[in-house]
């Protein structure tokens, strides 16, 4: 999509988990780019495959999960799928780093935060104990922790939620990675702290010039921080657009639903709506359009034909047949999933 070589390129990424109910195709043919220095939002509700996409980029999918052959993951043009485990370890934490949703559980309770930040420098740069500790203090200062010389010896449980997330970010930034994947970095935090953490991410992103893939279910977060948004549903990309277009002219009914489910200041009279039903189980994606049971516009074509990504505008694609039959948008109906009995399939 971008003219120059993007930093991260996913092509037809498919990640499958073997379960008793059959193969769960958690990520099912995802292609996306993250440009140099760009912040991209990856949006969708729980179970749509966002986090699995993130773990797949790092090749951290454990059995019974697997990344299917034919999936392409390229970082700076290098094919990560062809790397050995040893080479891949050199990418993790070094070129690509991750910020986790729940900072308390992402930190080891029995080591000081300084130890844990220092460990990254020791693993990747072979830093001496003293140098690694100095680095840890420097990183704590970078992420805005007061008295870093003291906090470096604190245990995770002695810090507040916001500070813990700063520590997790500090660990991710030690090696100045070119790509930072932030998986719901603010979900577990208080609203006031959320803003501070987003501000910090934006700040370090600009200072270090890295790219950020921000995974969230919160479109508000996306609006504040990203330039481009990719919406995932049922293991697929369903819409991708510049952030402005997503809010001004969302095309896919799922994106529309997400926007309508988001509270907005000034829109008091508008009723907050929910998208009926839930994401179908990944062991049995519906044929045709995967959103059709929950969609107010679906018609028989949606059942018959799996929609491709239609080009809607500049850098704007949508996986919805409305692109070629726009007149159908004028005739919404009650989604199948909202009609009690038809729900059985979606709930299973």
């Amino acid at each position: 999509m971008s003219e120059t070589q993007p930093l991260l390129q996913l092509r037809n990424l498919r990640t499958t988990f073997s379960t008793d109910a059959g193969d769960a195709r958690a990520v099912d043919g995802v292609s996306l780019d993250v440009g140099e220095g760009e912040t991209v939002g990856l949006v969708g509700e729980s179970g749509c495959g966002k986090s699995v996409t993130a773990l797949s980029i790092l090749r951290l999918i454990q059995p019974p999960g697997r990344i299917e052959s034919g999936s392409e993951i390229r970082l700076e043009g290098r094919d990560l799928m062809s790397l050995s485990e040893r080479e891949m370890r050199d990418v993790r934490g070094n070129r690509i780093a991750m910020v986790w949703q729940e900072p308390l559980s992402a930190l080891n309770p029995v080591f000081t935060v300084g130890d844990q930040i220092a460990e990254v420098a020791r693993v990747h740069a072979g830093a001496s104990r003293a140098a690694a500790k100095a680095k840890a203090i420097e990183m704590l200062r970078l992420v805005g922790i007061a008295d870093p010389e003291e906090r470096v010896d604190a245990y995770p449980h002695q810090l507040s939620g916001g500070m813990r997330q700063r520590v997790v970010i500090a660990m991710a930034l030690v090696m100045s990675p070119s790509l930072l994947i932030a998986d719901e970095p603010t979900t577990a935090l208080d609203v006031t702290i959320q803003a501070q953490i987003l501000e910090l991410l934006r700040d370090v992103q600009q200072r270090m010039g890295m790219s950020v893939l921000l995974i969230t279910h919160d479109l508000g977060v996306v609006a504040e921080t990203t330039s481009r948004v990719i919406v995932m549903y049922a293991g697929e990309v369903v819409e991708e657009a510049p952030v402005r277009d997503i809010f001004a002219a969302a095309h896919h009914p799922y994106t529309e639903g997400l926007l309508r489910a988001m509270p907005r200041v000034g829109a008091i009279r508008e009723r907050l709506t929910v998208i009926p039903g839930s994401v179908p189980p990944p062991t049995a994606w519906p044929t045709g359009c995967r959103f059709r049971d929950r969609c107010p516009y679906s018609w028989e074509r949606c059942e018959r034909e799996h929609p491709p990504l239609y080009q809607i505008g500049a850098g704007h694609v949508s996986r919805c047949h409305l692109a070629v039959e726009p007149e159908r948008r004028a005739r919404p109906h009650i989604p199948l999933a909202a009609v009690g009995t038809a729900d059985a399939g979606a709930l299973r």
Partner: protein, 292 residues
């Protein structure tokens, strides 16, 4: 969840504080410390050499007196001195055997738990099979096959028959810990499997091992005494509590003190280790932490 505090303290400090509040555990700890001290200083503390037979006719089986507070045995040896020297063997054998079992058990359990899948399945079925055989039978078999039993081989046999439970314990902990976010986070930062296991998983798995080890020492003391009783444990001329009791039980009608005092020493020691083990278990319980 505590608010950010400037004071920096290890999680262990909380554990120590909770143990310090447990009076029974403190008393038990003091008694064990005393016994260990006496064992270490045996040549200084004991009034007589353990195998001195001053007067096998005149001084045999003399009841407790000022000169021999625990009396003397059939060979006129001072029972107090023998109990003191015996504590070196009993405590030493038990401690070393338990160290051996927790090392083997922890390694085995950690590997099985971290590997998961068929390797874990196979390794745990082996443990199931070994656990199906009573430990005493296993010990008797091993020691009977060994023939002459030197102290190191006794420690080896006691240690190598005692790690199955520990390995199960560690394996279960490792399986839960290996899928925790911080283990995944460590891998996402480029840590090798070995490093994740050694630095991130194991340190979080060790508290139940510590409890099991403490309780295990008491258990092995009794086991060793039982084996000595059968003549399979510590061999004369070494004195252990077990073989002093065996000596004494042969003469229980004519010299009750010979078996009673080493028996009491053993009882108190095992009781103390159990009290300490229980206190540790309570102190290490994370649910306890949330309450306080």
């Amino acid at each position: 969840m505590s608010a950010a505090s400037a004071a920096v303290s290890a999680p262990w400090r909380a554990v120590l504080t909770r143990i310090r509040r447990n009076r029974a555990a403190l008393v038990a700890l003091a008694i064990i410390a005393l016994f260990v001290l006496v064992a270490l200083l045996a040549p200084v503390v004991a009034p007589y050499p353990p195998d001195a037979q001053p007067d096998i006719v005149g001084l045999a089986r003399v009841g407790p007196s000022l000169a021999h507070p625990f009396g003397t045995d059939t060979f006129s040896r001072d029972v107090l001195s023998r109990v003191i020297f015996g504590s070196r063997i009993s405590l030493g054998v038990a401690t070393l055997a338990v160290l051996l079992s927790i090392t083997v058990g922890t390694s085995y359990g950690a590997i099985a738990g971290y590997a998961g899948g068929p390797i874990d399945g196979l390794m745990m079925r082996v443990i199931d099979a070994l656990l199906a055989i009573p430990r005493v039978l296993l010990l008797i078999l091993a020691l009977a096959l060994w023939g002459r039993i030197a102290l190191p081989s006794l420690i080896l046999v006691l240690g190598l028959t005692g790690w199955f439970g520990t390995s199960r314990l560690v394996r279960a902990r490792v399986r839960t810990l290996a899928v925790q976010d911080f283990a995944l986070a460590a891998r996402a930062l480029g840590a090798r499997d070995g490093r994740v296991l050694w630095r991130h998983v194991l340190p979080n798995a060790l508290s139940p091992v510590l409890v099991a080890a403490t309780l295990g020492i008491g258990n092995v003391i009794v086991l060793e005494a039982g084996l000595s009783y059968f003549g399979l444990g510590v061999q004369p001329p070494h004195a252990s509590w077990g073989n002093i009791i065996q000596d004494g039980s042969d003469n229980i009608a004519r010299g009750w003190w010979i078996a009673l005092f080493p028996g009491l020493a053993m009882l108190v020691t095992v009781l103390c280790f159990n009290i300490i083990g229980d206190a540790l278990r309570d102190a290490l319980d994370p649910r306890e932490e949330r309450r306080s």
